[in-house]
Amino acid sequence: MVMTLSTPRVAAPVKKKRSVVQRFAADTAFMTFVAILMAFLYIPIWILIIFSFNDSRSLTWPLSGFTLEWYQRLWNNSQLQDAIGNSFYVASCATVLTLLVGVPAALALHRLHFPGKTVFRRLVVLPITLPGVVTGISMLNLFRVLGFDLSLETVILGHATALLAVVVTQVSARLERLPKSLEEASADLGATQIYTFIHITLPNIRSAVIGAGLLSFVLSFDEIPVTFFLTGRDNTLPMYIYSTMRRGVTPEINAVGTLIVLFSLILIVAAVIATRDRKH
């Protein structure tokens, strides 16, 4: 009896020592794992960038030399520049449209009670998980039935529909964290709903709206499946790159890619700064 009682006391330091060793082993294992995952995520992006400066038509190791030739070719490629212009046009319009529809949708979900609200919510956020190919095909058929010609404008409508989900989820999440008392106080003091929205609600969800707008812009700029079905004769940038890829791998695509990575990086920094809530 005495022996069994005293055993834990003797064993305790040994056990502690073992747990320190185990903890160290576990930490090392986790660190290694994180390093491998980071390598998996970022080595491909570095490969994309490095080969855009490589002095060879084929993308093979070892590197053969430094060149800016691929960037020079982009500079002289008028098709590519048109595509970039189209993409800016589509992404800007789609972002504005999707915000104009998405922010009210989030407000309606947050504030109003109406029959079919659950179905409405499910429908609005469906395009996040619904593959773009279904959105693209179904809207293509709509435009055919209505007799619309395909153009960049039909692409804009498609993007705005697909991106609605992004805006609604982001803005809804912010609205839910907003204390109800703010809007109630405003109403009690006699403000109209419109006044309350502009002066109370909007400033509080501003960063979420900006964040959702930036994300929508990036996603629209990058969109393929919906664009694939809805575009007419004009190409957006990803569609242009996609059609170039059909002809094979070239370092020019790496050069465009590197510029896109750079551009994305700038937007990420902008998003982080814009969505950072000012602390009072």
């Binding site: 093979t60 070892p62 409405f120 095909i137 996609y242 990575v261």
Partner: protein, 288 residues
């Protein structure tokens, strides 16, 4: 006037999105649902109401094979994303001591989402190709003596590429779920003498299931409808459902069949969503 300013905002706030969704989502779905019952009469189609298209999907091996392949690839991508994403999210939520490192690592996983999806698929084509980076690298260090074509144009390449593309969608919800778990639960379990692994299996893992379900849903559904990665790295036997839909509306000129396939994808996505919703509700902490 008072009535207007009270009622109008509500009507506009609900009316605009409702109208948009009716015209650009419900109506288009209704149209392809209608087409899916039509009959193909080359070179056009005639209105009809028959289930032949759906029957063909499941009986014609040409389609059923693609469906099974898509299901398999989607499940593998979800599984690999989970195996890579869960430990990472766990490390961020529980193991990482420095707040700055946690923020950076989280950003590092999310950031690729902002970098063109097309480029992320393309870069794997340049890595895995016969004349690609991996082959030439393995040759330059002497592991391979001649380029191997085993890396590209197969399901392996497709799973690697899609896992690479969609893994952020797995990490985000799992991390959110893990972060919500009260630390004192884990500590209490340790105080009561449970070792780390049983604590993980009995406390942490069950509480993170809603995040896992959300992650599986995203990666599964996104893979299920992808046609770009299969096109770039999948090779001749790598067509997924979305590629077949593209063909039906393009060269094959069989809209009814393409519509039936689209409706099937829609139904599968809705089923996965409702299943995962059920799982999430079941495992969510109950309100006290």
């Amino acid at each position: 006037m008072r009535f207007l300013s009270e009622k109008l905002p509500g009507v506009a706030v609900l009316g605009i999105p409702l109208l948009w969704i009716s015209v650009f989502m419900l109506l288009p779905y209704a149209i392809i649902a209608t087409y899916s019952f039509w009959t193909k009469q080359y070179p056009t189609f005639s209105p009809d109401f028959q289930f032949g298209n759906y029957l063909t999907l499941f009986t014609d091996p040409q389609y059923s094979k693609v469906l099974i392949r898509t299901l398999k690839v989607s499940l593998l991508v979800s599984l690999f994303s989970f195996l890579l994403g869960y430990p990472f999210a766990y490390f961020l939520a529980f193991r990482c001591k420095s707040q700055a490192l946690r923020t950076w690592l989280y950003m590092a996983v999310i950031a690729p989402l902002w970098v063109s999806y097309l480029l992320r698929a393309y870069v794997w084509k340049t890595i895995l190709g016969t004349e690609g980076v991996l082959n030439s690298f393995l040759m330059s260090i002497g592991i391979l003596s001649e380029p191997s074509d085993m890396f590209l144009y197969n399901q392996f390449a497709m799973v690697v590429t899609l896992t690479y593309i969609f893994i952020p969608f797995m990490v985000m919800p799992i991390y959110t779920a893990l972060e919500k778990i009260p630390r004192n639960l884990v500590e209490a379990s340790a105080d009561l003498g449970l070792r780390p692994i049983p604590t993980f299996l009995r406390i942490t893992l069950p509480l993170s299931i809603p995040g896992v379900a959300a992650g599986f849903t995203m990666t599964f559904c996104l893979t299920f409808g992808d046609f770009v990665a299969p096109f770039l790295v999948g090779g001749p036997d790598g067509n997924l459902v979305a590629n077949v839909i593209v063909t039906q509306f393009g060269t094959a000129l069989n809209w009814p069949m393409g519509s039936a396939l689209s409706i099937l994808v829609l139904v599968i996505v809705l089923t996965v969503l409702s299943l995962s919703g059920r799982v999430e509700r079941h495992y969510s902490p109950k309100e006290v």
